[in-house]
């Protein structure tokens, strides 16, 4: 029987969490491989070529960051990191090392599935991204990349060049958390002391222009202290 399911690798040492993640993913139509060790995970990465990796940062045999670094040398497979709440700094460094997303423990099945779907879809997108004439839509937000125009409903939104660049950049990675430094490097090219503040001010203007109220942001989620994430269409 041909198997065209997505293949997911779960690297997690806690049996209960691994079993619950395994069950959830399998019942939702993914083929799931699990391992408790990073070393073995790296071997499976080369031998099984999974479409996505779910990685716990605190594994006994190897630092999770080391895993990401090694994995990134040979493949661009999306990596979703599982982390505890108190490890903000770890989250940021994992993202900057090339992890695609993180999920804070404890998490529900809905959250896990949404992130997995988003990461898989992004991976597909990026392979043939920014085709000419392409248009991004999310709810009633519309971005026309060719004409650099943004609309909410029927109303055209007037953004400055920087604001547009930020919004377009976020929209290319829907569902993925982009760290402050990642966005800054993409927009301004280099990082200096005041640039996070510059980004935050621009984001505040974007929110205002898109008509977002606190608690009712329909497009962009603030990941406090980490970065921003554009919502995925299916969330």
């Amino acid at each position: 029987m041909p198997n065209n399911k997505y293949k997911l690798l779960v690297v997690e040492d806690d049996r209960s969490i691994a079993s619950f993640v395994h069950t959830v993913l399998e019942t939702n139509g993914y083929q799931v491989l699990t391992t408790e060790r990073c070393q073995q995970g790296l071997l499976m990465l080369t031998s099984h070529r999974p479409d996505l990796v779910v990685l716990d940062l605190g594994l006994p045999d190897m630092d999770g960051e080391e895993f990401i670094r090694t994995a990134r040398q040979e493949s661009a497979v999306p990596i979703i990191v599982l982390s505890a709440r108190t490890e903000e700094q770890d989250k940021i460094s994992a993202l900057d090392l090339g992890a695609n997303d993180y999920i804070t423990k404890p998490f529900g099945t809905g959250e896990l599935l949404a992130r997995v779907r988003a990461a898989l879809r992004n991976n597909r997108h990026n392979s043939h991204a920014a085709a000419p004439g392409s248009v991004f839509t999310l709810d009633d937000l519309m971005i026309d990349y060719d004409r650099r125009k943004v609309k909410v409903g029927a109303e055209t939104i007037h953004l400055t060049q920087t604001e547009y660049n930020i919004l377009a950049f976020l929209s290319q990675y829907t569902g993925k958390v982009l760290t402050y430094s990642a966005i800054i490097c993409a927009i301004w090219g280099s990082l200096d002391e005041g640039s996070v503040k510059k980004l935050q001010v621009n984001m505040a203007n974007i929110r205002k222009k898109l008509g977002c109220r606190p608690g009712e942001n329909r497009y962009i989620v603030n990941e406090l202290g980490v970065g921003y994430r554009m919502l995925d269409v299916q969330e």
């Binding site: 108190t86 935050q200 001010v201 984001m203 606190p214 608690g215 009712e216 942001n217 406090l224 202290g225």
Partner: protein
């Protein structure tokens, strides 16, 4: 205080006291033409030094210097040394005795104070542990019970019953998680070695992130939000402040009986952002208002309120705000209902405008 700082402060203090004693004596000698006050003033100086500094060293040093100073400047022959006179030796002995006794007394006093503070801390910790164990056991019992009910009667229970039991397990687990987050915050703030990770945080983003989480847990509770239009940046440990606000909002849900409206307000007053959470529920009983934040209402009073989480939640709030150099206040609104408020320093404006 670090060791070098302590050393600097002590030596500085000693010099200051001795110099002022010397100056005062010169002044008095000129004024009254009699050396009668001189030893008294130096003894007072030695006493002050032994009292305010750490250990014996500074007191003894001060007494020796004083003896030399008295001998040199204030006894015949003036401005010359005469160290072997019996007068000089006896005054030196007296000064040394004062220094050693005072030093010994104050050291013992300080030790006692430290012991007392340690004991108090230990007592608080004990109370916290007791309250926590109690509060953790309740939902754990419920989770364990529900799960065993399902495992043991899997075929006997209807689908609806199973689903209901599982939903209870889910909400109990969420409650446990929030509890653990509170505890983690306390240990993070409590440990003297760990400092807050203060980052400049955009107020609007904080409130947005908070409301998102709040609505996830309580989708039916509407919150009236009033925040300033301008771009406000506040240096804070965002995760902890978010938790304070979350605890306050949750507190209203659990305890403000008859509440119809819930407000979250932030106003800017003299470079300070004043946060307040207000409700129009039943208010806080006046006899409890004074020790609301001292925590652990449950530790002395019987904890029959079930899983209130309030004692811990509010003392966590107070600890976190204290760590941000602020103070949290609770009061009853004149129109009815309870209000909690605290203020945080804002960032310099010139930073905020690019």
């Amino acid at each position: 205080m670090s060791k070098t700082n302590r050393l600097l402060a002590d030596s500085g203090f000693t010099c200051l006291v001795l110099l002022s004693a010397f100056g005062l004596n010169l002044l008095l000698q000129n004024q009254f033409q009699t050396p009668a006050m001189t030893p008294m003033i130096f003894v007072l100086g030695v006493f002050l030094v032994s009292w305010r500094t750490q250990g014996y060293l500074w007191g003894i040093a001060a007494s020796l210097i004083s003896v030399i100073a008295v001998n040199w400047a204030f006894t015949y022959p003036y401005w010359a040394f005469d160290l072997i006179s019996p007068e000089c030796i006896s005054s030196a002995v007296a000064m040394l005795i004062v220094a050693i006794l005072t030093g010994g007394l104050t050291t013992r006093l300080k030790q006692q104070e430290k012991l007392k503070a340690d004991a108090e801390k230990e007592r608080m910790r004990g109370n916290l542990l007791r309250a926590v164990s109690h509060d953790l056991r309740t939902p754990l019992t419920a989770i364990y019970g529900a799960c065993s009910a399902i495992v043991e009667n899997y075929d006997g229970l209807s689908r609806e019953t199973q689903l209901k039991l599982l939903k209870d397990v889910q909400s109990d687990a969420q409650w446990l998680n929030r509890m653990v987050e509170n505890l983690l915050s306390v240990t993070r703030v409590d440990a003297d070695t760990v400092r807050l990770s203060k980052n400049s945080t955009v107020l609007e983003e904080l409130i947005d992130s908070l409301l998102l989480k709040f609505h996830k847990h309580y989708p039916d509770q509407k919150v009236h939000v009033e925040i300033p239009e301008e771009f406000v940046c506040i240096p804070m440990d965002a995760m902890l402040i978010e938790q304070v606000l979350m605890n306050l909002l949750e507190n209203a849900i659990f305890h403000a009986h008859g509440m119809k409206n819930l407000w979250l307000r932030v106003t800017v007053r003299d470079r300070k952002a004043v946060f307040s959470v207000e409700d129009d529920g039943c208010g806080i009983p006046p006899e409890r208002i004074d020790h609301l934040f001292t925590g652990l209402l449950g530790s002395e009073a019987p904890t029959d309120t079930g899983r209130s989480n309030m004692g811990i939640g509010l003392s966590v709030c107070s600890t976190i705000i204290k760590a941000h150099n602020g103070q949290i206040k609770a009061f009853n609104r004149p129109k009815g209902g309870a209000a909690f408020s605290f203020a945080l320093e804002m960032e310099d404006r010139k930073h905020a405008e690019q």
